[in-house]
Subunit: 373 residues, 4 copies
């Protein structure tokens, strides 16, 4: 089996999740390459070395440009904060590396178009890691919709709710500054929510949005006795219509007390309905409108059967998997895409479409008016 040598940029939360993703592929799947954790790149050399030791990265590097220059690296894994995606991805493309990029693709559609152009020009595989698509239950939802189990779709009712900003002591970190984060939950959570809506229903025809700042000031991380201005919205609502005529609502917030990571959707169609919630990620609820009337009801599908997407690679039916497994699925699928010489969905082109929706929402948030797409 041929080696596929990876250079990873970033070594925090996503660095861990991606490292585990690459490592576990060969244990549970049969990828077409052997992923080699070649070099880990970050600015803090000491922390970086610990990370490399723990996860088995062979080398470390503190200047990401040098990683691009190496001939022995096949894949650049971008696990950096969003505002660093565009520059690094374009450089990787220019260096002829395949690109596994953490979501959201970047902070503006202009950047995203440049990323996509560079990657296409270089002929490399490009992928934006909206990992929720690769939860078995979400992949099953996609299969069911493609199989026509839902018929014509009328409604998407989505939400991505977290609660970590309910705590007034949470400091003013990079996710709360405009230049680093682009926007608030609209970007961070909304990009995931729009990705699933695109994946399962299709593109939007228009979008309307409303945002809100519940907290104006927060303690500085560097000096909690001082405060600074929160520069992004605390919560963002979206409402819109898909090109196929279905309606959508999407709520994104970091102020939903009691919701730690509730990414949820309800889909209603002429023949059936589906609901899902990331906090209970192994289950898909399905209402089959074609059942005899006295037997209709939402059924609770535990998505761990042999015939379920990805499930057969893990454990026998009834044994659930967790959050990090979707990253393993993504890493494995990415290697197959390289082997087959194609991009992997959601690719940078899809990344552009997601950002365009979010930019339309940002615009609507200011004007209060519906924005066509």
């Amino acid at each position: 089996m041929e080696d596929l040598r990876i250079g990873i940029l970033g070594h925090r939360f996503m660095g861990r999740a991606h490292s585990n993703g690459w490592s576990q592929t060969t244990k549970f799947f049969d990828p077409p390459y052997k992923p080699v954790l070649q070099v880990a790149c970050g600015r803090d050399g000491e922390d970086l070395q610990k990370f490399a030791d723990r996860w088995g990265w062979a080398e470390i590097e503190t200047d990401w440009k040098r990683v691009m220059e190496r001939d022995d690296i096949d894949v650049i894994d971008i696990s950096l904060p969003t505002f660093m995606h565009a520059e690094t991805a374009i450089a990787a493309a220019e260096a002829g590396k395949h690109i596994f990029c953490e979501k959201p693709i970047c902070n503006t559609s202009e950047q995203a178009r440049a990323m996509q152009a560079a990657a296409e020009k270089a002929g490399v595989v490009h992928y934006v890691n909206h990992n929720y698509r690769r939860c078995p239950a979400v992949a099953l939802a996609k299969r069911m919709i493609d199989d026509g189990e839902l018929g014509e779709i009328y409604h998407w009712r989505g939400a991505y709710q977290q609660s970590w900003l309910v705590n007034p002591d949470h400091p003013l970190d990079w996710k709360l500054k405009k230049d680093t984060a682009g926007a608030g939950p609209l970007w961070d959570l909304g990009s995931h929510a729009v990705d699933l809506a695109h994946y399962l229903v299709g593109d939007f025809a228009n979008i309307t949005s409303q945002g809100k700042q519940f907290t104006e000031e927060r303690p500085l991380a560097s000096d909690p006795s001082k405060t600074g201005k929160v520069e992004v919205e605390c919560a963002a609502l979206m409402m819109g219509e898909f090109k196929n005529g279905a309606l959508a609502t999407i709520e994104t917030t970091r102020y939903a007390t009691g919701r730690r990571n509730r990414h949820t959707f309800e889909i209603y169609g002429s023949k059936g309905a589906l609901t899902w919630d990331m906090e209970d990620m192994n289950r898909l609820k399905f209402f089959d409108n074609g059942s005899p009337e006295h037997l209709v009801g939402f059924r609770d599908i535990l998505v761990t059967e042999r015939s379920h997407e990805y499930a057969n690679a893990w454990w026998p039916p009834g044994h659930i998997i967790g959050y990090e497994h979707a990253f393993v699925h993504a890493c494995n699928d990415f290697m197959h895409a390289i082997k087959e010489g194609r991009t992997l969905d959601p690719d940078f082109a899809e990344g552009i479409r997601i950002i365009e929706v979010l930019e339309a929402a940002l615009k609507s948030m200011e004007t209060g008016a519906r924005v066509k797409l």
Copy 2:
């Protein structure tokens, strides 16, 4: 105990629910009056007589104006289609009758204001029967919010979803015509949804809305071989901000396959969160953010304890009640309001405020722009 003589207008679905409401009050509660089912009024004399016999209405009448003229009637119970509310309510007020009016109050805020003015001028008790307020779980939610259990409220995520129009054979009935229904689910379901949002969070500062017609034509009820145009929206979304700064989304639809009568809300505040669903109406879910971290979680309160609103009147803890019980609570509370010489919430003034929100939504639905309230 003094008699309270009631004249009811209408004898269909709501006629039954109201008749049962009046009848059961004296069995389970101790109202200050004995409600006497004096006269039932409707146009179809034969059906009406059967209705009167079944429910114990002493007399029948086919001209509602004659009911108003009677001196022996204390209360007019309006269980008619919405477009008939204003005329009958104003006549009732002018005749000095107390008014128990089915929801929504009427089809325009102009009518609503006339109704309220007439009732206030006459000094009669007026009430709009948004019955869900009087489900024990909703009343408990109100108490908890008033007690400060939720702190500052950030989010209202509501929906009122039904599915009866998913069937393409459903005929073009009065609820699908503009002159009789006013609007589609926005009016019928949205008035309930806005009522609960007002009750539990407060008035709106602005509203944005989007509607959709999934089905353009439906079979005529009179001749199913022909079709006619559906004149109202099939589904309506709302998004807005409350005057206290909380955000809201509300979805109303008759195309939510699998949802028969799902009236639901999620409320997130700084200290806690609540969720409720009418299809599981005896339960209120509560997240107490003040619990020790290792014990936090949404708790499933079965609202049948002795100390729960209305519950003590029925059965021992653990024995649930059903849909019609909220009507009994409303009838009982209405009699107390008469005794105490005050209106009963939601009264006609509140009815006006609800209609104003719906009219703003209708306007936004056309323009795509946010409307201030």
Copy 3:
């Protein structure tokens, strides 16, 4: 419509539930008789009069024997404590009255056989009010099993759990004395649990049981400063095999903290499975083993459709009913049984079979050995 004149014995919890049952039949159903609430009988004349006034009983009587002597009474409704059932039922039979008897039938199988013999000899309709059979969801379970949806049945996993004795201050009432209650939860709750097992699976071939006294002494109701001995078991477990080969476990207890009235079963068969819980009585969960593998799951049937048992009489789909409705169903079915000249299940013969199971369990509780039936 012919009158059916009822005399009720007892006016506490069950007196209320039965009175409501008779009253509501004509509002929501079309019984073959008009039930007339003729006479209410009890020992406490003052309380009894209040009860009669509230529920519309025309007369009161403090000596139950005089009720039996009246020619104008067609039905005796026995809503008394269990230990009074046998004597009153036999007298009613001898007086030629139809008998609507609250559960459990009585305290010994010997009494039960005497009751059944008397009723059969008199040719009257006899019925034991195990009301849970007439919850729509339970009736649907029965239909589904009869339709073969479950195939061969392997397992019954039942429980009837309450929690009112967790409170050490609960006084030593009649339910805790051997001569009045017969036994503890085994009798009170176990009779219901065995009734449903009989109804849905069949008769038992053998039973093993184990009981326990968690609390030895409780305050006297008459003088809480003194305590008396609890004479019945606090909790009782049963385990056994049905004649058709299925296995069963049943737990009955008043010490299940958090369970107010959780009467629940799980049934597993070769083709499907069902679960139900009285605290969520409008729902039946169904696993259809014949679904395509990727779509299998327990479905949540909201038993309020037009085609569901009893449901059509009440409200549109999605509008739930409550605890007392099963009593209305029982009263209505009882009147049909009279009209058709047959007993109503569970009748006294079934009552005997239930008591025989409970007596076997009591015996096993002492010896620790399996008892054949």
Copy 4:
């Protein structure tokens, strides 16, 4: 960090789960040793080599006795069928190896006692891998009980339900033969169920049991056109009393249609109650009897908070883990036990106590009588 060299016996389902367990410890935890996957042992050389390549076992070996003779092996990981545990474990002990033994400990209490004696004599660390103890939610349950959150415990209602034998075509494998499996679900599933009951409530004072064979013959694995006799029970019920006075029921079965791996318990105590289900393993339901009456309810604790057992090592709150993670916890805890020179619970002594309960149940199954422990 010192190496800890492991030799694993077995390379099927448990071989995978254990290999993953050892591998992931150093990624997510900080064990006191570096586990080295030194040698994998099995009879089928070709399959074994593939397994070793996939999981990184340095060498393979087809004779387990030779593994014992090696000086460079510190730990023997027994991932073999149950009937091979005793011989291999005793040999490992005699060779001075620490023993990580898959559950159940073995097939007879006599064997178990020999295993324990050998391990104690050798002074090695011994552990039986009842992995469910190390699910965060179960570990939290233990902490809560130790903290007194449940008060005096009254009831344990447990079940371990699977459904793979509902299929009549399932062949007669080693789990269905007496000499290899010992017994049916009583052993395989019941050992887990008893382990959790011991862990959370305590030892049993007596046990009563009942078993059943739903299927007498099954196709031979070697030749499906022929059938052979199923030698073990298809389902087993247990009922008993703990030494502390609490009552228990436990159902174990492979015929619970719709349940893939439902290991569940309900615990009721004087101050609170808990429920858990392995198919939803990240959640613990808790009823706090000390809440104000109007706020009581079962709360759904998502056991992913920083302060929850094991959770901090994985992902942020709200990100669930899966089945295999409990094995990682066990491997990590085992290494700490070695470092600290103590056995790890459940150790072989606990393994004996579990087998004694199961043997008592087997005996009761035959006689139908309660068996003291």
